[in-house]
Each structure stands twice: as structure tokens, then as C-alpha cells.
Symmetry: C2
Subunit: 113 residues, 2 copies
């Protein structure tokens, strides 16, 4: 079980690095939604806007998708100058330890100031 | 505080009704995502497209949001003629049994054929 998680993590780390690099080129900022409380990510988004970012991209996979929407809605409702520029969904594939491919949905919410 | 929230609710109810009406005029169809398995809702969406609908709107609140994205992605990946037209999020307010107002995020995914 522990090994299974590790394998998944490695692949995810690679994907994350690739995306982060692509995003750096675009000058944007990603906030990846995980298992912390929503306010931790709200703070991360607000901090990035405070540091001068024009756009912050909130990204999540699987069950965290609903938290990504929560974070985007909280930031939008608290800061009138922030709005949702676009939302896109996609399907990503991870491979479990027993070799089964597993499809997970992902969401990207672009917030702009 | 309570009055303020109530006022908001009324406003949202109106907005929701307005949307439903507008959608009826467009001949669209809503699929509300609840606690069933994703495939039940995929079937509902596919059935509506099969019955001649040009657009089907997948709607969910709270934790069901991630399932709504799953449903939209599954339909899109299985049917090449279906695509995601737009995605929008909102905050809705419900009142819990003990009278506390509770904000929940909601998502609407418009699928078109």
C-alpha cells in the first residue's frame, strides 16, 4: 500500500514539475489544492496577488476539485477586484502499482485581478 | 446577520429561477448530480442528448462538484460530438437544521452536442 502511494507520487511529481515549468514561462502562478483546509489555499492565492501576480491558477484533481471551487469562490467573494477568468477541466491518467491505469478528472480555475 | 443572509437567499432563488426559465426557452436540460455513482448521471446526460437535446447542463453543489466534473469528462471522452461549452461556479446559501447559514459552492457545466 505504501509502495503504491509512492509510485503515484513520483509520477505526479513529474507532471507537477512539467506544468510548473510551463506556467513559469507564461508568468502565471499555480496553487495546487491538496488536503489542507480551504483557508490555507485562499491565503496562498491572496499572497500571490499581493506579490503582484495578475493571474493565479487554482488547480486540483479528483476529490479536491470541490475544494478548488470553494477556494476560487471565497477569494472572488472576499476581493471584489478578483474575478474568474476561465475554468477548464481535463482527464489525467495515473498508473497504480498493480498496473491498472486510473483516470482522474482535474480542474484549472484561472483567477485574474 | 440572519436578515442579511435571508435577503441573499431570495436573490439567489430568483437568479436560479431566471436561469431555469432561460434554459427552458433554449430547450436545455439540467442533470443534478447527487450521491449516485457517476455512471447513473452519465446515462442521464447521454439519454437527454439521445432525445434530441442540443445542450445538457450538469449541476452540482458542495462535495458533488468533483463528481459533476467526472460526469462531464466521461461524457466528453466517450462521445466525440459532445464538448464542454462553458463552466461557471457560484456560491449558494443553505440554512442548516440548527438555523446556521451555510455557504456552499456550486458548479454548472454546459455540455453541447
Amino acid at each position: 500500500m505504501a509502495e503504491k502511494k509512492e509510485a503515484k507520487e513520483t509520477k505526479e511529481t513529474k507532471a507537477t514539475k512539467g506544468e510548473a515549468k510551463a506556467q513559469e514561462e507564461l508568468g502565471g502562478n499555480y496553487v495546487f489544492i491538496g488536503k489542507k483546509g480551504a483557508m490555507a489555499y485562499v491565503l496562498a492565492v491572496v499572497t500571490q496577488f499581493g506579490a503582484g501576480a495578475k493571474e493565479v491558477i487554482v488547480k486540483a484533481r479528483g476529490k479536491s476539485i470541490s475544494h478548488a471551487v470553494d477556494v476560487a469562490e471565497i477569494v472572488k467573494n472576499k476581493s471584489p477586484e478578483v474575478s474568474i477568468k476561465s475554468i477548464s477541466t481535463s482527464t489525467e491518467e495515473v498508473v497504480t502499482m498493480d498496473g491498472r491505469p486510473l483516470k482522474v478528472s482535474a480542474i484549472e480555475i484561472v483567477l485574474k485581478k
